[in-house]
């Protein structure tokens, strides 16, 4: 750990504090924002997320060592936390802190991308089912029932088993494509009521086609369930990826993801608990933060509380 990396870490904390303060300041000016702030842990959630996102983005500055670099496999394996290695080293003498910081990139990145895939598909399917109803609705929603009935983890395990050396991009895509069912139900429910609103009839009366009606009039007004399920979705994906990596089936080994770091440290959990413990803590913190923010957003965006 050099002075520079400590400075970078301090800056990351400062950035996160400023971000949380800024969110508070902006939220206080609106009714929906005040409902967000009323949720006691939401601001803490914003701070935690801002911190991890900043460290992930600034990983080369915050991480003192190469995350895959084996410093001294003979003398430096499973070192406890010290000033030189703030979170200790793993069995291959790699710095756990550096791996954790780079792992944030992978874990948060996978979470975000898979969530984007899931939310896009879910919003599209939900909007189509709710807006066109009839046959399209029946077919899409029965497929959703089937999708929800299949345990997600086992679908992913099957894909991993069938596909030798599953590319990371495919894994992310698969996580996303197995995660949109709940979103589509929420969006469909909102669209079903929105399509009967008079401004939708007015848009059709002036000649707007279904595409324009859905994208300009219906979906923007269904933003609340989409945003909330996105917030919860990232947390779920991070847990899922960690679970897969923990089974040794997710992110391939030299790459650090939080799940794979836990996997690496698992055999030495009794003698070197820091290797698995800290990434576990990071996962817990981020998922809790995402859930707190998701709860806050749900309170803030609930249309029943919005005075129209």
């Amino acid at each position: 750990m050099t002075v520079w990396t400590w400075l970078a870490l301090a800056s990351a904390v400062a950035v996160a504090l400023v971000a949380a303060a800024e969110v508070r300041r902006r939220a206080a000016t609106r009714a929906a924002g005040r409902r967000f702030l009323r949720h006691p842990t939401a601001t803490a959630g914003v701070f935690i997320l801002a911190f991890f996102v900043t460290t992930a983005l600034a990983a080369p500055l915050v991480a003192p060592y190469d995350p895959a670099g084996q410093l001294d496999p003979v003398h430096l394996q499973n070192q406890p936390p010290s000033t030189r290695f703030p979170l200790g080293t793993d069995v291959y003498s790699r710095d756990v802190w550096s791996r954790l910081v780079y792992g944030a990139r992978l874990s948060l990145g996978i979470g975000t991308i898979a969530m984007l895939v899931a939310v896009t598909v879910g919003a599209g399917v939900g909007a189509a089912a709710g807006y066109f109803r009839r046959g399209i609705d029946a077919v899409l929603m029965r497929s959703v029932d089937v999708g929800l009935a299949m345990p997600r983890m086992f679908v992913l395990l099957m894909a991993v088993a069938l596909w030798e050396r599953l590319p990371l991009a495919v894994l992310v895509l698969l996580i996303g494509l197995t995660g949109w069912f709940g979103t589509s139900r929420l969006v469909r429910a909102d669209v079903l009521s929105l399509r009967e609103r008079e401004f939708v009839a007015a848009a059709r009366a002036v000649g707007a086609g279904p595409t324009r009606v859905i994208f300009r009039h219906v979906l923007p007004n269904a933003a609340a369930p989409i945003i909330v399920s996105a917030a919860f979705g990232i947390g779920n994906v991070i847990l899922l990826e960690a679970g897969l990596s923990y089974l040794g089936l997710g992110v391939p080994s030299p790459l650090p993801s939080w799940g794979s770091i836990i996997y690496d440290g698992q055999p030495y959990i009794a003698t070197a608990p820091w290797t698995s413990g800290f990434p576990g803590l990071a996962i817990a913190l981020v998922v809790l933060a995402l859930n707190a923010v998701g709860d806050g957003l749900r309170d803030a965006l609930d249309p029943r509380k919005e005075a129209t």
Binding site: E198, A205, G207, G209
Partner: protein, 330 residues
């Protein structure tokens, strides 16, 4: 003497099927005949007032004419063009000529769009104007409906009910239509605002030579704006006449009772209030014979009313009524 009608509606029928179970299995529930053979014509530049209780199908008539709801039978023509038969591009082109103003000023504007966006959208769809030209047209529209052009940047929640309704009218006018369906345009507004909006609608009609189908649930509102009035009950027109004739001498007992409910601003006025008994029957199972017979206060009501549905027939010049005793009104 009467000019050729701009809007002609013939035998319009709209049924709403009861919901069925999964995959269309299970027994279909009773079909609701919301609109049951409605016919009328509106001459260019004139206003037809369409009046009836809630649930009588009057809004469905308006929306079916505009093809916001697909009719099950009947013909609708607008200046000779068959509204029901058209589809796709031709229907879109036709939508420029007919527009609608809704009842609820809170639900009829997209809460996520500014007034500018709401008013510019029809211009973009019909390629009438974009960019600066669209801004200019929106400002002109707002001015025409009596709003400051500065409102263009506002969101609906920043406007009052009357202001929103003016925006709704401006949206309908943006494509320069010939025909407007006004679906209870003032029912949700305060009385003072009602008068303003009614005056605005009358002014616009004069300036733009608009033809109106004015839907309302009471005869008082329609009185000042309508040239002709049609009264609906359970999906059917029960009386249709020039406004002067209908207000002076209603022929159908339902019209008579509706008229008796119109408030008269004279505390000394002596008049008989006819209070209808019972509820409007469910349109899913309308009564046999005359649909109005269970509630009809007419003293001569008899067995014929219970069995034989009365046809809409000309009782006096230009005045049509669907009552067996239209010659002896109450």
């Amino acid at each position: 003497m009467t000019p050729a009608p701009l809007v002609q509606v013939d035998g319009l029928v709209k049924r709403f099927p009861g919901e069925r179970g999964l995959f269309g299995l299970g027994r279909a529930r009773r079909t609701v005949r919301a609109v049951d053979g409605v016919s009328f014509a509106i001459a260019a530049g004139q206003t037809l007032g369409l009046v009836g209780e809630s649930g009588c199908g009057k809004s469905t008539v308006g929306r079916t004419i505009l093809r916001l709801i697909e009719p099950d039978a009947g013909r609708v023509t607008l200046g000779g063009a068959d509204v029901v038969a058209l589809g796709g591009r031709e229907l879109r082109a036709l939508r420029r000529r007919m527009q609608i103003v809704f009842q609820d000023p809170y639900g009829s504007l997209n809460p996520r769009m500014t007034v500018q966006q709401t008013l510019a959208e029809p211009l973009a769809i019909h390629r009438l104007a974009t960019g600066l030209e669209a801004k200019r047209r929106v400002a002109a529209l707002l001015d025409e409906v009596g709003l400051d052009p500065a409102f263009a940047a506002a969101y609906p929640h920043e406007l009052s009910g009357g202001q929103r309704q003016r925006v709704g009218i401006a949206r309908a006018l943006s494509v320069e239509p010939q025909f407007l369906v006004l679906d209870e345009p003032v029912s949700a507004l305060d009385v003072s605002v009602q008068a303003q909006v009614l005056n605005l609608l009358a002014d616009l009609q004069r300036k733009r030579r608009l033809t109106y189908l004015f839907i309302a649930h009471d005869l008082a509102v329609v009185k000042h704006i309508a040239d002709d009035v049609a009264v609906m009950y359970l999906g059917k027109i029960v009386e249709r006449a020039p406004a002067t004739g209908l207000y002076a001498g209603p022929r159908h007992p339902y019209t008579t009772s509706l008229l008796s409910a119109v408030p008269v601003p004279d505390p000394k006025a002596q008049r008989q209030r006819i209070v209808l008994q019972g509820e409007v029957p469910s349109p899913a199972s309308p009564p046999a014979g005359c649909p109005f017979h269970p509630r009809c206060p007419h003293p001569r009501k008899n067995e014929r009313c219970r069995t034989e549905p009365p046809a809409l027939r000309e009782v006096a010049t230009g005045q049509f009524a669907a009552c067996h005793f239209a010659e002896q009104p109450m």
